[in-house]
């Protein structure tokens, strides 16, 4: 299991090269989140984080997923700092015996990271800057688990 919180970008291909190599692994799934610009005016996104609590919270979520879906490997990378539209923000990867477990665990990780990992996003556009508000739907998404 690997949990990394960093400001630098990551190379998806490089990261996945050594991932999920255990012989009992039959499926790996990966998801990458990017900075989206819906309005066409986004200059950059500032991602603030709580050092220490980020790593601890994500590790707990990843351990939970690893146990629940008997994962053979699990990886989370989350960036902070100033990111531009199209930049990679984060990724999760899961490895399991079968694809259902790998897909479900990846969704679980994403749902929990969104509402429980201490990161805050501020959008800086040509018109001004504003903090991204948490959505009720993101909190409700946790109920299905």
């Amino acid at each position: 299991m690997q949990v990394t919180v960093q400001s630098e970008d990551f190379d998806l291909a490089q990261v996945l090269k050594g991932f999920g190599k255990a012989p009992n692994t039959g499926a790996t799934v990966s998801f990458t989140g990017r900075v989206r610009d819906d309005s066409g005016t986004l200059e950059h996104m500032e991602i603030e984080h709580y050092p220490g609590m980020c790593e601890a919270t994500i590790t707990k979520i990843a351990e939970e997923a690893a146990t629940r879906w008997s994962l053979t490997d699990c990886l989370v990378i989350h960036r902070y700092g100033n990111l531009r539209p199209g930049d990679q923000i984060m990724m999760v990867a899961t490895a399991a015996r079968h694809r259902v477990e790998a897909f479900e665990a990846a969704e679980y990780l994403m749902d929990y990271l969104k509402s429980r990992a201490p990161f805050w996003k501020k959008e800086v556009t040509r018109e001004g800057a504003d903090w991204v508000a948490a959505k009720d739907a993101d909190e409700e998404a946790l109920n299905r688990w």
């Binding site: 989140g33 603030e48 709580y50 220490g52 609590m53 601890a56 919270t57 989350h78 923000i89 984060m90 994403m110 990271l113 969104k114 509402s115 429980r116 990992a117 201490p118 990161f119 805050w120 996003k121 501020k122 903090w131 991204v132 508000a133 948490a134 909190e139």
Partner: protein, 83 residues
């Protein structure tokens, strides 16, 4: 007791600093919030709507009625937006 208090995102912006060390006798998070609100308008503004705030004690998410007994670090922030 001495306690480290951290602020993130718009809470940090409203209070004007990311962290401070406080000397307090507050028994619970709520007591600490009331103490801060009475101190200066910038705290009063930051803590005016507790429903839009979250609190962590020693880096674990908790509730506002939690005890501060033995706690070294308190953090206040809006709901997280990770992922």
């Amino acid at each position: 007791m001495k306690i480290e208090v951290l602020y993130f995102a718009w809470v940090r912006e409203r209070i004007g600093e990311p962290r401070e060390t406080l000397e307090t006798e507050a028994a619970t998070v709520m007591d600490l919030v009331e103490e801060l609100r009475a101190r200066e308008p910038r705290y009063d503004l930051a803590f005016s709507d507790l429903k839009s705030l979250r609190v962590a004690l020693d880096q674990e998410l908790t509730e506002f009625d939690a005890s501060l007994d033995g706690v070294r670090e308190v953090a206040f922030f809006p709901p997280m937006t990770g992922g």
